[in-house]
């Protein structure tokens, strides 16, 4: 049985951006908070060193996972080569090869920090367009929390610029956008006459010194690590929580959940790396273990009273797995573009985020990827067997002319897109790996036909040669849906405060609760939802 028991007002499982920001909010408001993370503490300098010491081929293929070594007691995904952690099946299996990181700070250690608000219609897809599902709250109800999250993360955005469609704001972005580099400037200019509005992406990165962190100096390394901390990641929330008295326990893998006769959560159990067991007791529990690990844990922790899994009386845990199925394109432009000035994602085309067409096909976001092309240019030129001046010229030419663009699609929640516990793969602690079956569906496929045309039109306008387009859908790491929200406990897992319908003192602070994927990167919405759940938790505490 358990060797020791620790207590707190609130136990939070997962020190990623959602868990950490929530921990900070609760600790700041006087609660005692225990933050458990399955993975280790991670050290920025070491990650920078790991990346520098990675083979150039990995760099050229955008391998962002290898600098973050996976630990046997808390494995995470790595596809260089595929370590087999996340098992994917179904017609679009390749589109669910998601990146996640375990460790204090979580997956945002290597995100790109694009920090969008969803549109009001994303929250009411079903009522407006008759497809998908509605959120359990409106955009207006989330608006103040969006702003709180933006302030906390330090989001810069296109203040003063009118962009249609846009999410309505009561306050300006905390910082103004930084200027585009040559790539985003040229791209914007070229697509304009084609009818595309390429506009600044709101980003959680400093366009001026902010909150004790420096201004972005454009070393274009946001994925996999910002070497100077100009980009926000979850770890800053965790550190702030700690400064307000929260306790963080790393390498604590929660695997079991105890419930009482009223189905309140009484305790959780975690393993340390040697499989020693520990017990934590609290008044309120939060699982913030990301869109894959949250449903996995809920299923894993099934007990006598909850034989299908915790919070799963609706059978919706692990269902409706969503992301933004993508199409990637690369080519050599006629004019020099010089990708790499500024951060890795500065702008995108937002014209197709909303519209009546959404009753039939997915909304999309088209974007220009500003990741420097030099690693790829070098490896490509070498593979051509060039030497001497020709080799140098080819590297320079490809660094200047290489272009990557993409189209990302909204997807509808489909209960058949499902995460289950693997029957035949277990990690070092004996915990089953997650297994996801994925089919993007006709809503996406219909839209993808047009997306391919958009991308081709842009490539042609840029005088593209060596045009390559992924024939399959790519993953985008925006993991949503697996513990979906709704008003009806029969067909949803959490309510509008992210409180589980089944367990009054269990909240899920994760993108898994999101009821529609929208088109844009989803983490700001996850963070806002988590902060909103924080108000419900604080309210509960007031009333004992």
């Amino acid at each position: 049985m358990a060797q020791d028991t620790q207590t707190a007002d609130v136990v939070i499982v997962g020190a990623g951006i959602c868990g950490s920001m929530l921990a900070h909010k609760l600790a700041r408001n006087g609660l005692s908070v225990l933050l458990l993370d399955a993975g280790p503490h991670r050290d920025r300098d070491q990650i920078v060193e790991n990346w520098r010491n990675m083979p150039p081929n990995n760099k050229s293929l955008y391998d962002y996972a290898t600098p973050y070594p996976s630990v046997p007691w808390a494995p995470h995904t790595n596809y260089f080569p595929d370590n087999g952690y996340l098992i994917v099946k179904g017609p679009d299996a390749s589109a669910y090869r998601q990146g996640i990181i375990k460790g204090v700070g979580g997956t945002t250690w290597h995100w790109a920090a694009s920090s969008w608000r969803y549109l009001p219609n994303d929250f009411r897809l079903k009522s407006t367009y008759g497809v998908g599902r509605d959120y359990a709250m409106s955009y207006d109800e989330l608006e103040p929390y969006y702003y709180a999250a933006e302030l906390e993360m330090g989001v810069k955005g296109p203040n003063g610029q009118e962009i249609i469609p846009s999410a309505p704001r009561k306050n300006p972005w905390p910082m103004d956008s930084m200027p585009y580099g040559p790539g985003d400037r040229l791209f914007t200019e070229i697509v304009k006459p084609l009818g595309y509005d390429n506009t600044p992406v709101p980003q959680a990165r400093n366009s001026r010194p902010y909150d004790g962190r420096p201004q972005c100096c454009g070393n274009n390394n946001c994925m996999p690590i910002c070497p100077i901390g100009a980009m926000y990641h979850g770890v800053y929330g965790a550190w702030k929580a700690e400064r307000h008295g929260a306790r963080i326990i790393a390498n604590a893998v929660v695997y079991a959940i105890e419930t009482d006769a009223k189905n309140n959560i009484v305790a959780m159990n975690y393993y340390d790396p040697d499989k020693g067991t520990h017990r934590v007791v609290a008044r309120t529990f939060v699982i913030a273990a990301n869109g894959i690990e949250t449903p996995k844990l809920l299923l894993l922790a099934a007990n006598d009273r909850n034989p299908n899994g915790i919070a799963n009386s609706s059978d919706q845990v692990g269902r409706n797995m969503m992301d933004h199925p993508g199409i990637g394109m690369s080519f050599q432009a006629a004019e020099p573009v010089w990708a790499g000035g500024g951060s890795v994602q500065m702008s995108s085309i937002t014209n197709f985020r909303d519209g009546a067409f959404r009753s039939e096909r997915a909304a999309i976001q088209i974007g220009y990827n500003n990741t420097a092309q030099n690693s790829r240019a070098g490896m490509k030129a070498l593979s051509l067997g060039l030497v001497g001046k020709k080799l140098d010229e080819e590297i320079r030419r490809r660094s200047a002319h290489g272009v990557d663009i993409y189209a990302n699609h909204e997807i509808l929640p489909n209960p058949e897109n499902r995460l289950v516990l693997s029957k035949d793969h277990r990690d070092a602690l004996g915990i089953p790996h997650p297994e996801v079956t994925y089919d993007v569906g006709d809503y996406v496929r219909k839209s993808a036909v047009l997306s391919r045309q958009h991308l081709m039109k842009i490539a042609q306008a840029m005088g593209g040669t060596e045009i390559e387009m992924t024939p399959y859908f790519t993953p985008n790491n925006h993991i949503t849906g697996g513990a979906i929200m709704g008003h009806d406990p029969k067909d949803s897992v959490v309510d509008q405060w992210l409180r589980t319908h089944d367990h009054p003192n269990l909240f899920l602070a994760t993108g898994a609760t999101m009821a529609a994927s929208g088109t844009v990167n989803s983490t700001l919405t996850m963070a806002a939802l988590s902060l909103r759940a924080g108000d419900a938790i604080l309210e509960d505490m007031k009333h004992g």
Binding site: G181, N220, P227, I228, P336, A339, G341, V387, R397
Partner: protein, 181 residues
Amino acid sequence: MRGTPRARGRMVSRRNMLMVSGASALGLFAPSFRSAMAQGIGGAAGDDTAEFVAFSRFATGHDNLDPLVGRSLLAALRAQSTAFPDQLAALIKTVADSKPADVEALEESLRGNPLHDTLLQIIRGWYSGVIEDGTDAKVYAFENALMYQPARDVVVIPTYAHNGPNYWVAEPAPVAQMPQF
């Protein structure tokens, strides 16, 4: 602006800053550490390295090669293949005998000859910093790998700041204007 001594000076100081805040305090001492090693390389133990670096200058067309990187690459190439020392000697002899104008001429003359592979292997080592494929390949050079130099006046070497904030608003240099390296 770009490439002027002032801009370069700024770049270097930024890099030092990065090292202080970043990886290791050892980075601070790198220059003196390096030159001491380079002197050591001139001595008896370093003769092979000196020869390898001298040939590599011809093979890459670049004079400014780091002897420390040369020493590691040479050791690695030898460890990878026992035939390497002989192949290197044969390449050096070919250059001495046939006096090709440059590496392009040498490369052309070696097509179909097994030494062609050795030549390209040496070039790939200096350009990419690795001599093997695969995720586990050991990296012998990163920021001074030659593949990062042809565009280094415009494009950052990953993790190294190029210049101060908003440096990227400047117009990039023409593609035809190859930086010296």
